[in-house]
Symmetry: D2
Subunit: 338 residues, 4 copies
């Protein structure tokens, strides 16, 4: 951490800061600049975090120079992590495709969807059984009944199941039916839930919060990993910006950023990321070309019948077209399809 | 809801949309414009929400014209709601002041803080016992021990206690010690938690999510109210924007916006809203002048010793100065101080 | 400037950076931390700005610790600047009120408006003669004809005139009729225009760009001042965020921030800042309570007839009500009204 | 346009609105809903724009349903526009690559850069002669001297020249040396400049403003086209969001959005879009896979010597690697390289 003093800081103020910092067990490097004095701190980040330096006389600001996470970082583990989900490897040379409807609506719809995405080459079936919704009066999901349908569809097709947990209670329930626990965007900083999925030991798909910085997202993954669960996958799904043509702004640069900073796999969800089915296919191609380890795509047998998010679901034909396109792009980035 | 057709929509496409909509039990008003046809929908919002109209051929977009909330609205209840917290009224002619340290650090610190804010005229003591933190390695609060200290400080001073709940489990625990359950910004769309505090029946302080629109915030309050708990107070605490000089951008216009749209009281937290103690006092004055029902202010007996958020806490002297200023502003906006 | 090296930087890489920096005439302070080496640079900012340090091997990032502006800063001039606009002082103990219609529509409308705002206590008449509009097909203003009307209204009432310049050509034209040259939000970083108004020597009202940080805004003022023109006033008019209930998000915390960082006066425009006339009055009160030096308010004799921005203009009666309110708040913040 | 009345609007208020609208020469469709009345307007957009309906009694809000642009739209021209820049076609089956240093620094640097990017397959040389900079004290470009160097490098290599115009004066000067006039992000809504490049008739590269919506960007292009100049290319270069890891957030979904809404070509600039050379290559691949018509890439013979933006420039070797990658991706999206 760096402490920047104001230009008019007195020698006494500088000394009080130094004394406070060294009293907390940290070392300092003092640099007297042309305009102002700068004090570098050396030692445990934890100790620094507890010093309210900006409230001390003569301090203009403090600047943090090191990250507050460790286990998620490339410095902790240099080679890419490959997550084994019941034999399907995420993060290795093979691209991962998770597909299916936004919400589980009925047994028929789900089995039909599962058949379609399996035939097109997906390895995972997605579908919400618990649906967080802005309004309390919107459809909230089929809950455990939906989980049963997901498990049945998984057993029938061999697809792995990824579905959302919405609170600590649901972790055990979902864990009994699914292969991957999904943390939704609204819960990315629900730290109690992060600890609970951490304790579960199950693979976790951690969606980015709608206004989360990459730095906060890495810290959220650290919450899971600090419970001893190293099976974490990131999922970029768009951030909230001023642009309102798209539902969110899909931040594809986050993929390469995460791959530089962390060893964990990164999945991209262009369906929620754009909210417009016409943009899903180009953005899915872009995600693969940009280095993503996989895709999460909404596919619906009949989009105009979908109970939620119909306008962002691909038709089966569009999904098959997309699969062919990414099959062609994959080798350019050193990947292959299942 | 309004359906805007593309300019080249065929008569068949228009008829298919109309047929789909009327088939779902809704009525339509068709308006054939110069450039395009527009279809207005009349009926239950719930039915409309389940129609994936944007996926139908010929549809350009849909536009929602009515809100998805009801109980929170001025249309449901025209006069201002006044929340009774153990005899202290929030939302009436008297301004509410909640003050105290960011986190409960120790019994001494808390009792000292409580004495200071009580003497200066506050009616509520704030202080976090459970602290959601970006990094798992940061100080996470004293938890139930902290709650005991809060209750003791409340008993000693007569101050009401407002403190955060972080998960469903904590609702009963916090409820046993506190007078108001605070929902933090990160949990504004933790719908399970909203329902849980709704069921508790206790007064709820609902902080705005860091990237929540006013519309989403109103819906979050609707979650609480739809469980039968009408004792909800909003708390504006800044939103995330591109500006990085301040910790957040305190959106004071949300106060007047909420007062127009809803009957519920609105509190403003300029401490988290700006993150800089030098800005707290001017923004607190501005909040009162702008129509807020009250303030939530971080005060610390000795800011440079605070375990968290030191740089945004006021000193006791600054807090007393602020109280004098808002005492003078209050009558201009038809309010008075305790 | 601080250079943060990666944890695995070699001694050679560190030495190459130091050699590059010292070769450019700068001094360094090297601090070898527990995890990484940090190099502080001392010397002319201009020299630092030209070193592409982040492209050098072993460098993780650079952090700037000092501002790129000088003349606008409190460090350059500690006491508040008071701008003399033909005898009307902006930035001193007396609050400044600029009011009038969004656009000059006709001679009658303007003279009527001028009479209304003068009678209510305003010192300045605002009104656009050149109107930058998103669409080329929208009303673009009466141009020089509008300027003549403004000058006539000014002469008739004694009000000072503030109106926008939109390009270098318009500087001399507007300067012949107006007392203050306004730089609109879209031109805040039109550096050629900033230099031109700098050279004019006339008082300048510098509106904040829709996505400008406070830091960029200060630099824009520095462009004007670096041409020798010290008569600069800031005008906060809202920033673009994700919130769409209001037209912009009025960032009142920028007022106190600017007053801390700079000696120049700060005006607040709640009309453009909110876009909703119901929010103008509370936000104008809030601005004064928060320390603004003045207000810019849209007033229209008959808002429902306005050619642009009708929904954000106050009626004469509302404007008079507002003036009474701020007259009552002014003394609390050490101000008085004309 | 749709007018949404408040639920409690009286019959008189509704009739006043209708009378006002029909009095202005527009037709209406009135739809009396369950909760509120909605009035649809039919007629000239220009007439609607001048009615300040939101200030009328009983009006809750108005909603615009049609765009304010025409010439840029797919509805005006369905097939893709191909811009002929001295024989090099932009927007057709062949991908366009514009590359070169951020700023023209010296004759040697520029000629070396031109040779490198030409050899690697670029068709355009980029390089700033006029550099808009946040601080007045930063390097502002070599101006006309730099233009001469660009023209010389173009003549020597056969590369077309694209460089920025910063004000109306510079249009003729730049036009004498360059093949494409670039409008920088800060000038996207400098409407006088847009009209000036419109009148020039020369090909225009229109960068997106840092906080411009896609809708505003389309309107900016309409300004150029409404002067009779149809040779407009969009350039996505990142928007400003809360994320601070990257310099901007490159919005690749804007590419597919623009291709749906407009017939004009779209270029992507991942160098400014990310600000980090490590992210440039993956995002350039992503842009091509996502349907961009071309790329604008900063390449510097020796990035650590660059006067500006060094950390986002590719080395020659990295640029050649990138060209090979996009050559492989191009056929997947129906494109080919020069």
């Amino acid at each position: 951490m760096i402490i920047v003093m104001i230009p008019t800081a007195t020698q006494t103020e500088i000394e009080q800061v130094i004394s406070r910092v060294t009293g907390a067990g940290l070392k300092v490097h003092v640099s007297e600049g042309k305009l102002r004095t700068i004090i570098g701190l050396i030692g445990e980040k934890k100790l620094m975090a507890q010093l309210p330096l900006e409230a001390m006389a003569g301090v203009e600001k403090t600047i943090s120079v090191t990250a507050g996470y460790k286990l998620v970082s490339r410095e902790f583990k240099n080679e890419d992590s490959v997550i084994d989900v019941g034999g399907v490897l995420v993060g290795g040379p093979q691209l991962t495709v998770m597909a299916g409807p936004c919400a589980v609506e009925s047994r028929d719809q789900l089995l039909e969807s599962a058949g379609i995405v399996k035939a097109a080459g997906a390895q995972f079936l997605r579908g919400g059984a618990y649906k967080p919704r802005t309004s309390p009066y919107s459809f909230q999901g089929l809950e455990e009944k939906g989980l049963e349908m997901l498990a049945e569809a998984g057993a029938a097709t061999g697809l792995k199941i990824v579905t959302e947990v919405v609170d600590i209670q649901s972790v055990a329930v979902v864990g009994a039916y699914a292969d991957v626990l999904q943390i939704g965007a609204r819960n990315m900083q629900n730290f109690q839930l992060l600890k609970a999925v951490g304790k579960s030991g199950m693979p976790v798909l951690l969606k980015r919060g709608i206004a989360a910085t990459i730095n906060e997202w890495l810290h959220a993954a650290e919450y899971v990993m600090s419970e001893g669960n190293y099976n974490v996958m990131f999922c970029e799904r768009g951030i909230r910006t001023f642009e309102d043509y798209t539902r969110n702004t899909l931040d594809l640069s986050a993929v390469a950023a995460l791959k530089n900073l962390s060893h964990l796999p990164v999945i991209v969800d262009p369906s929620h990321g754009t909210g417009l089915w016409k943009l899903v296919r180009p953005m899915a191609r872009a995600a693969v070309a940009g280095g993503a380890d996989g895709l999460m795509i909404e596919v619906h047998p009949n989009p105009s019948e979908a109970l939620s998010d119909g306008s962002q679901s691909l038709t089966p034909a569009n999904f098959r077209g997309l699969m062919n396109e990414i099959r062609a792009i994959a080798p350019v980035v050193g990947r292959r399809m299942a």
